[in-house]
């Protein structure tokens, strides 16, 4: 009887949703995601068909022109797909836009781990031909 009375009297009161747990989870998630946020953006272009090799002694990637080749043979220069036969020409045009002496000599290569050196050699020679002498091979950091 008493219980019934209590329920009837609180009917008009405001119902509060307890959001403390939600706020806690959100805050932890935001902190975690912000800590591992990568502002440089090079990795956003990795295609699902491209599995990079792993290495322990890599250095910072840096912001330079990006050339990627996936295991199906698709070649991307700065995010745009091109054919390997016109690679030299496209690289030459990219080089003309940024003809600086030192930093502009570098190029990032993102290449699938299963690609043969024969194919890589063609790409290297095209890079050499237009003046990209410093080659940065992108690798995934080895986790163990």
């Amino acid at each position: 009887m008493r219980l019934f009375k209590k329920a009837a009297s609180s009917r008009a009161s405001l119902v509060h949703l307890n959001v403390t747990a939600l706020v806690d989870v959100m805050t932890v998630l935001v902190i975690f995601l912000m800590m591992q946020f990568n502002a440089s953006g090079e990795m956003l272009l990795v295609s699902p068909d491209l599995k990079m090799p792993e290495a322990k002694n890599g250095q910072d990637v840096g912001q330079t022109l990006l050339l990627s080749l996936d295991r199906k043979g698709n070649l991307y220069l700065g995010g745009r797909q091109i054919a390997i036969v016109i690679l030299s020409r496209e690289l030459g045009e990219a080089r003309k836009k940024n003809p600086g002496p030192n930093a502009a000599q570098a190029i990032n290569l993102q290449i699938d781990r299963s690609v043969d050196y024969g194919v890589l050699k063609r790409i290297l020679s095209a890079c050499e031909g237009v003046g990209y002498h410093q080659i940065r091979l992108s690798v995934a950091n080895e986790t163990h």
Partner: protein
């Protein structure tokens, strides 16, 4: 006399809105793989001023189908044969470290892979050379 209520509530709605937006944005742009780069020079770079000064007879690591060969002063110094049909990178790592810490420490090393060698194996050798202390790594086309 009416009962005075002291219940104070903070309006969390804008905070939750903001958090949800930030979480969504960060999750969409999240990169779950940390990338880095291994810096190499290719053969023709020796003509450049910015390129490392090449020694007359650098150490060369040949990556071949049947094993790894380390050339010193132009002659094959050590051959590391395959162990259970895979390249023995551990032994190469130990050998390169010993070479770098040896009597005449060299900063430069050349990598000379065969055309059929997978990129994964080349990167492994470059990584080992970098780990052994060689600062200037030159990737050469096979002859």
């Amino acid at each position: 006399m009416g009962r005075r209520s002291y219940e104070v509530s903070v309006n969390l709605v804008p905070y939750i809105d903001l958090m949800t937006t930030i979480v969504t944005f960060l999750m969409m742009t999240a990169v779950w793989m940390q990338a880095s780069a291994l810096e190499v020079w290719s053969k023709e770079s020796e003509t450049l001023n910015a390129a490392p000064t090449l020694q007359s007879q650098p150490i060369v690591v040949g990556i071949q189908e049947n094993g790894l060969v380390v050339f010193q002063e132009g002659r094959p110094g050590k051959t590391i044969t395959k162990r259970s049909s895979a390249h023995d990178f551990e032994e190469l790592g130990v050998y390169l470290r010993a070479l770098h810490e040896g009597t005449a420490p060299s900063e430069e090393i050349h990598i000379l892979p065969d055309d059929s060698i997978q990129y994964d194996h080349i990167v492994r050798v470059i990584d080992l050379a970098r780990g052994a202390g060689f600062a200037q790594i030159v990737l050469r086309p096979s002859v």
